[in-house]
Amino acid sequence: MSKEARPSWDSPMQFVLACVSYAVGLGNVWRFPYLCQMHGGGGFLIPYLLMLVLEGIPLFCMELAIGQRMRLGSIGAWTAISPYLGGLGIASVVTSVYLCLYYNIINAWSFWYLFHSFQPVLPWSECPVNSNRSGYVQECEVASPTQYFFYRETLNVSSSIDENGGVHMGLALCLLLAWVIVFLFIVRGVKSTGMVVYFTATFPYLVLIIYLIRGFTLHGAWNGVKYMFTPKLEQLANPQTWINAATQIFFSLGLGFGSLIAFASYNHQNNDFEKQAVAVSLINSSTSVFACMVTFAIYGFKATLNYESCLERMRVLLLNTFGLSESDVSIDNVTVWISHLNHTNPEMFATIASKIEVCSLEAELDTAVEGTGLAFIVYSEAIKNMPVSQLWSVLYFIMLLLLGMGSMLGNITAIITPLGDLKILSRTFSNETLNGLVCLVCLLLGLGFTTRSGSYWFTMFNDYGATLSLLFIVLFEVVSVCYIYGLKR
């Protein structure tokens, strides 16, 4: 590696698309809509955009600048500024290793769902039948078919983190496939990555547009979108809103992992990265808002569906208990009938009083879900109710896969670029062997997440693995660039 000049992107467009593909990840789809809902709908955009300008774009610019100037991965780049700062680069690499270990499990789950969509009846649309065919499996009766499919058939989750069941073979196969695909994308380094990002950066937008159109034409979607756009401005007074906006910008842009440094290190020296940094940050944020609209359309559809089935259940309960004719009680006048029957027939009403539920559309819309729950349970529940659900399911999980793979590319590049820059390793191993070894090690360690207690480990890694250390890393980065390297240079 020391004798050859550094490989580089075929065109600046590839670099921009690689950054977009890395920054636009699953967090845009499953964290931002949750935050939007928690902090007052449309009003959340104000702190979000403010933080983008104050925090996101400058830090993004800084990381790109370092990578492009030093033309080395994170360890080399920081060591070049000052040998004592090498630890900063190592910290970035270690954080990226943590992320690579657990992030690909999400891709494995997406593969699992994707492959299971090729069936005449989606497996998460119905509960499986119990052994004597008299009813559904008990666990599934208590929960819903989508939850049963995720927790029992996909994860086969054990009751606590201590109980380590065996490895789920199907998930292990999907994880293997995920790592093999990552290897395929990075095997030739930047050359192969550059080809791939054309697809991984653009196709998710196509799917999002299709889903936007489909989502807005669903029954009841408008309730969700209206709910999102009515801003609750009193949430702006809550400091938690601003903190969440800051952290969301921070993690959404993927700062501190060293991936941006690695990507930028393959740039030509005169590349105009400032304009590109602004462009990528704006694209990332607008994708978040776009995905938010789609998600809220889906929320609205699901909430309306639940609300109407609640009313239907009440209607059937009234019909069965009081022997009324079907044409008397319709979905619209269920509540009227409930109060009427309560007055006229109180004793009989008392017998079913425990089963009466209050159906409220607002309550359904208020249930906010984030993370894997949103992506794999809420969305798949909405999809199973759409016509031609297999097509929508395939499209959706391919989109999730592309978003996840795009982010994985950035993270794995953050590891192999510094490793490839280390003279010791690049002399003994060729580029491809090194990449293969990294993928293999991550695969073997990642198998731990496919065990029955794997999802608990996943949650721990996701919530605590990188969050605090990243803040420190970026803080040190800013300090070192401003004071040690000098702002003027």
Partner: protein
């Protein structure tokens, strides 16, 4: 006058007894139909003819279940009809019209032929309920090979082919470059995507020993934006 009352009594006695048998209700099942929910605009009215159809389909089910006893429509007694369209029925034995068929026999007969009864009324398990007789759910579809494994096999095969071909092309390119390097010993090895240096001070610098700190270089060669 006495003749007439006696005749009248004889005529109405069976139906009185029948209603008593039905109203006792220990061996009877409640049935609920939700015609409007199932059929919407194409719902039919529930009337005497539909009730006749129900009684005959139940007699049919009992016949097929016992396979020897000839149940008739008079053996199916119905009472407690409501506007919901729900009622209670009991089944009497064909040999003795005062004896009722026990509940579990009726239940088994209904379970075995629920599908036929549903089809007679264009309803389904959810809309034609026998309270106390759970429906037999459809058996799950079993595949010889899981469909997801097939798709998985296709995808991982394609990816493996891709990797192998990429690695092969890299190796052949390396071998070709190595051969070229042996022929012309002074030239650098060519890797893809590199603008060949034209012998500036930079290339000579790279062949020297020492750590080359690119932070302080002046890469004017690459002017592409």
């Amino acid at each position: 006058m006495k003749m007439i009352t006696r005749i009248l009594l004889l005529i109405f006695l069976p139906s009185v007894i029948a209603r008593d048998l039905c109203k006792d209700g220990k061996d009877g099942y409640k049935v609920r139909l939700s015609i409007k929910t199932a059929l919407g605009d194409e719902a039919y009215e529930w009337n005497e003819s539909e009730m006749f159809l129900f009684r005959s389909s139940l007699a049919f089910a009992m016949r097929k279940y016992t396979q020897r006893e000839t149940f008739d429509i008079s053996n199916i007694l119905v009472c407690n009809e409501t506007k919901r369209v729900s009622f209670v029925f009991v089944v009497t034995s064909p040999n003795d019209s005062t004896k009722l068929i026990p509940k579990d026999h009726v239940a088994s007969a209904v379970r075995q032929h629920k599908h036929r009864i549903n089809s007679a009324f264009l309803l389904s398990d959810g809309t034609l309920e026998f309270v106390g007789i759970p429906p037999t759910l459809a058996a799950p579809i079993t595949y010889s090979t899981q469909p997801w494994l097939i798709v998985f096999g296709v995808v991982i095969g394609a990816v493996a082919v891709g990797i192998v071909s990429l690695l092969m092309s890299t190796m052949t390119r390396r071998r070709r470059a190595a051969d070229k390097g042996v022929d012309s010993g002074q030239e650098e090895e060519q890797m893809e995507g590199i603008v060949k240096g034209n012998g500036t001070s930079l290339t000579r610098l790279e062949s020297k020993d020492g750590v080359y700190n690119q932070a302080f270089s002046n890469d004017e060669r690459f002017t592409k934006l």
